[in-house]
């Protein structure tokens, strides 16, 4: 999306046939956009490539999104929600002790990066790294995303604390923040090392550190 303007344009191209068509096409664009942003970040992602992938005429794009910036913002929001749901699925699984639920999330994330040949990272981490090159309007969104994911992990750690698996005086909110800080570094490192090992290494270090010995 490097060459496109981020300001809204007048709608041109063939309009979508009906509401169902419109929604389906819009969702297809979002799916393709999410793939691109998790792999390449915002600057390197190309709207042309996204449209090509979905076989959507170039001129039709502005029927769906006012600008690259607006498209990007919606992708950020969607990703934050999608990821929060995935996290909840693991962290709410009361059949496992709290720290094993977190481990179950780590295993799923590690399978994901491996399945995508260590090319895809965290959309929020990618855009955070690009903060100097992307619109400032993304910053608060990225922050809110981290806060949401952190609150979910903090809840899980809090349960572990109540069950005596981590220190009674642990600040679970702060620990969850540190978990995400390091986790994002580990996700970046999977791309450089072409291996999921940094995720497991970081997770084991983190849990060993917080566990009641």
């Amino acid at each position: 999306m490097d060459t496109e303007k981020t300001t809204p344009k007048r709608r041109r191209g063939r309009p979508p046939k009906d509401k169902k068509d419109y929604n389906e096409t819009r969702e297809a664009l979002i799916r393709a956009g999410l793939e691109s942003l998790t792999e390449k970040g915002f600057v390197s992602s190309s709207i042309d490539d996204v449209l090509k992938k979905e076989k959507i005429p170039k001129g039709s794009y502005y029927h769906y999104f006012a600008s690259k910036e607006e498209f990007g913002k919606e992708l950020v929001d969607r990703y934050i929600d999608y990821f929060a749901n995935m996290l909840k699925k693991h962290l709410d699984d009361s059949s496992l002790p709290p720290l094993e639920r977190l481990e179950s999330f780590v295993n799923t994330a590690a399978s994901g990066v491996k399945r995508h040949n260590f090319k895809r990272g965290c959309l929020i981490g990618n855009l955070g790294q690009e903060m100097s090159s992307i619109p400032e309007s993304f910053r608060v969104r990225l922050q809110k995303g981290f806060e949401l994911w952190q609150s979910l992990v903090a809840g899980c750690l809090e349960e572990a604390r109540r069950e005596g698996m981590i220190c009674a005086d642990a600040d679970c909110t702060k620990l969850a923040e540190i978990f995400w800080t390091g986790w994002e570094g580990a996700v970046m490192r999977t791309k450089v090392d072409q291996s999921e090992a940094p995720l497991f290494d970081y997770f084991h270090f983190f849990t060993r550190c917080i566990s009641n010995k």
Copy 2:
């Protein structure tokens, strides 16, 4: 540097007047390139902007570097060395206990990100995040950089271990790797939070975890 080709071009433009001129101009381009890559990463950096900043005619560029890729590789190597020297300066300071030397590096790094208004990150972390969009040839270089920096931190942790400040059975090589993994996440997070706090939070968590209690 998003629109430039990465393949070598025939040298054009005005050639440099003499050897001294040549070296000075080349160094000025490297300095400007380093600034750009630590702020924007590889894809968003523009060779045109670098040349403009140094008031160097556009056509002269290929007298100094064969391509954007070659320029980028030299910048990576320079940054790795520059950063290793900065690290050594702190970690070799035997007037301080080993973990305080690491803290001294953290303080310097935190001052740096603050001075640059939380716009600049780690050049290696930026390019690591961009791995899907930059030439594969960078990957081994980034890895070697991490390995060098990790070996310096491992040496410092080894001293701390010998002095009984961290557990006797600690694997300092692995701990140094984990330190860098999390550190890169913390550097990215300074951009999102516009604060140096993630660096201190991560460092304090890391040292509290490894310290002999």
